[in-house]
Subunit: 542 residues, 2 copies
């Protein structure tokens, strides 16, 4: 309990008149040591610019914080301000911030500018040599900082008359104290500035005869921790979090229960070769390709309506812009009373709610993405368009694209149909249902009036599939027959099939890839941009 008490202690500034207390003396002593350590460290690093003079009377106002002071040494009660909260309402106030030295610029020997970034927001900090506040040595120290180092800055907020173009916040900090918390190596493998640059900017510069650095996708991913720091990436993953959140909140409000099904599966998941196999205490096992079987079993277990957010694993050798070996599945399964349109109704309302909410609540994030990767806002209807597969085939036919009416759409015909739908109905988000049975998994319920078709659907955004759903076969004998007819060894899925022997309600559901939703909503060109640490057949690091 005692470690909590200093939180209530009186800040020393409140008694400016009194003599130096024991505590203050100790503080000065610490600052002196800090300064010495900083000087030693700088010397060791061979940074010639930093020839700190120990006799600087303002030495306590800057330097490197030794590690020991960062090991939870004290709870000072100091008030920290976030960079995003630095506005002109704070004019003339003293603030304390922690962030990264994004850019450092010396102006002669008596002045320096530091742009400090915290979670994507930036503020300009100014050091000006002034008696009793900033020494020339302190300016030197500032300009010797390596970019992306973590710094603590104390200073006074000022509001310049001119707009600030180099930072997000429209105030400056007149620096009084500057400490380095953690140094970045001087030569970073990629610069945030380069990683944050749009193609447009690179091309414009090229036209003006300047060659700017373009950071390619693989380099970004190799140094993902740096790449993540760009405003666009900060925004992408905040939007991803929001997508998941809306998904959950919408479903919870509709009586769904969030569940977690196992990823470690005996046998071979839903069959097929695209599974990662491993040994489970002597038993052959694999990683779940989807929560399909277990979410259906949860419906047999009386949960009525369930959803799951979790990783799904695909060992496929897909080298496309839209496939990953591991991604986050958003899965739904629900009892249906009469018709699989009940499932499509959920898809409809869920996604319209989601798109509305993203446009409304994530405007800053969408702007940040737009600056680096310009895109058009998604066009969608208040009530989602539903077309049958046959209608889709017909539309393609009329546009001169012949496809097998009982086959699947390939990427090209999906895109073409998306284009036709946009022209005719004015939407980039629609549902295509009654797919041919032959192209759907064994557990898909055939149509009541034509066994060549199925009670299934796919959902498209900007001409690309993001959701697959269907009514499922809930009769064990029929399910067995369907599995066998597709060459699946029913022994490996016997507990799944048995689940339907104890009374099973008609049901259906769908699955969505979280990364794909974000990619397509923001019209990004590669799914690796929406996975924090993507896994593809050639990448399992970092």
């Amino acid at each position: 309990m005692s470690s909590e008490e200093p939180l209530q202690s009186t800040p020393s500034e409140e008694n400016p008149e009194k003599k130096l207390s024991k505590k203050e003396l100790a503080k000065l002593e610490r600052q002196r040591k800090r300064q010495e350590a900083a000087a030693a460290a700088s010397a060791a690093a061979g940074v010639s610019a930093v020839t700190l003079e120990a006799e600087d009377p303002l030495a306590a106002n800057y330097g490197e914080i030794p590690l020991n002071d960062l090991q939870s040494k004290e709870i000072s009660g100091k008030k920290w301000t976030e960079v995003k909260d630095l506005t002109n309402e704070l004019k003339d106030q003293v603030v304390l911030i922690r962030g990264r030295a994004q850019a450092i610029r010396a102006v002669g020997k008596k002045m320096a500018f530091l742009v400090v970034r915290e979670r994507g927001f930036t503020v300009q900090c100014v050091l000006t040599v002034a008696q009793d506040v900033v020494s020339p040595q302190m300016v030197k120290f500032a300009t010797s900082l390596s970019r992306e180092s973590i710094v603590d800055i104390e200073g006074v907020i000022s509001v310049p008359t001119q707009p600030i173009t180099g930072a997000s916040q429209q105030v400056e900090i007149q620096v009084r104290k500057l400490y380095c918390v953690n140094k970045a190596i001087p030569a970073l493998p990629i610069n945030i500035e380069d990683a944050a640059r749009s193609e447009l900017e690179i091309e414009k510069a090229l036209q003006a005869g300047e060659q700017l650095v373009r950071v390619n996708q693989d380099t970004r991913l190799n140094f993902r921790v740096l790449d993540m720091r760009t405003p666009a990436n900060q925004a992408i993953f905040r939007i991803q979090c929001q997508v998941e959140n809306i998904f959950r909140q919408f479903l919870l409000s509709e009586g769904f229960v969030g569940i977690h099904t196992p990823k470690l599966i005996a046998g071979s998941s839903e069959g097929g070769s695209a599974v990662f196999r491993f040994d489970y205490k002597g038993t052959p096992a694999c990683l779940a390709q989807s929560p399909q079987l277990h979410k259906q079993m949860s419906i047999c277990g009386d949960f009525g309506r369930v959803f799951e957010v979790g990783p799904v694993f695909r060992a496929e050798d897909s080298f496309t812009h839209r496939h990953l070996c591991e991604f986050t599945g958003l899965d739904v399964e629900m009892e249906i009373k009469e018709h699989y349109s009940e499932v499509m109704d959920i898809v409809d309302r869920l996604f319209v709610t989601m798109f509305d909410s993203l446009n409304e609540k994530c405007s800053k994030e969408l702007e940040a993405i737009n600056r680096q990767y310009p895109f058009e806002k998604l066009k969608y209807l208040r009530k989602t368009l539903r077309l049958t597969f046959e209608e889709g085939v017909q539309m393609l036919k009329e546009a001169g694209v012949e496809i097998d009416p009982l086959g699947d759409l390939n990427t090209e015909s999906e895109r073409k149909l998306g284009q036709l739908v946009l022209e005719k109905y004015g939407t980039e988000f629609y549902i295509l249902h009654r797919y041919p049975l032959a192209v759907r998994p064994f557990y898909t319920m055939p149509c009541h009036d034509n066994p060549k078709y199925s009670n299934s659907f796919d959902v498209f955004i900007r001409g690309e599939e993001i959701i697959s759903g269907a009514q499922r076969v809930h009769v064990p004998e029929f399910l067995t027959e369907r599995a066998q007819s597709l060459g699946i060894d029913v022994k490996t899925i016997s507990t799944y099939i048995d689940s339907f022997r104890y009374g099973a309600p008609p049901h259906g559901g769908f699955g969505v890839g979280l990364e794909r939703v974000v990619m397509l909503f923001c019209a990004l060109n590669n799914i690796r941009k929406t996975s924090l640490f993507p896994r593809d057949p050639q990448r399992i690091t970092p």
Copy 2:
């Protein structure tokens, strides 16, 4: 689009006077076929009790619904009522419900009772032979239903004068129509009634000379889909969903971002032998033991405060009541300004909020669990107690339990300390911090004043550990040194260590097991009770 239209069609009851329309004739024809199919199916199943007579003029009011009618044949626009919503406000109204035939009882040949269950709620349905409504054959059909079959029931709500003890709802349905949607096999491997029984009930019966069936844990798990249907299990997994939800909502409100880190990891995760290994396209790989390394990397990537909910995998051979090979991790990582108490502050407020919310919003679920597994409400303080490890050791010592002051607590001493804390401070939820460094992972930050201790903590509920947390080492050279000193091959975690070379803020975090929180909040005796499909060294099915 056209498939949606029937939703707007006028229900036929609104024109009772007019002659039978084409649609109605078709409906009667369908009912006739349904009846025939049911008779045929019953005959095929050899159910001797069901000697359905085709000439029953009321044959259309009951029977088995043929599969074809369940393949999304029509959208009738019928209104369905949930069992939980059946209250005496609906007196004299006609309702339509779908649920399971939980219990079936014949009273002579002219009456039958059916208890129908939907998502844990039950209602008593009464069939009484009456001209033009219920035939003796219909009563026969009802009594021939196998338990747990899915049925559709239409009838009129009546309110009996006596309280109903055999069902949750205090109204009855006077049945007019009864269809079987899906049959359960007649001999279920476990009965829901047996699975829902408390130990107390079994013992009481035994004292009265009656031997009731006790379903053991393994049998439950073998037939988990049946076991899930008990009121206690319905409640447990709804509470689990709520725990996750509060976790997320609390952290989102505190500026955390939800992330997803990869489960497929090159090399050997955080080291140690307890990992599941597999081959990733020719590269040795393993399943993540926790999101530890990647959540820290996300902090280096400027997300400031992150959380993750996802599966974690442990290949340990632990056969205890509290270990699983796969469980759901609730992980948190955050920048800290000065002290690891900032992390403990989050733990404190998060869990107090969670417990408050569970007690408030899940009272029905907690009651349901209490009926089968009686437990005392968790005792916790408004401000969570924090003790240092040394204080804990001292308390144990004073109680006559000597433990190594630089070792870890074993299960026994954890329990003992929990007991002492409860006696002294009146809480079953507390934080123990400043653990010996030697018993913590390599990435744990040592204390500033004593390298034998660390800036770490564990959190306990009812004498069992549920959370581990700490400040982390954010200096790459020191991190390397710590890893090497613990015999970890730093080459396998080089991208992790490199993340700290680009400027890393001081940070800390913690991890919680979702299943453990639910188990200990409800004082359940086995973690397998709070995992939907548990995985342990001996179980990878269903």
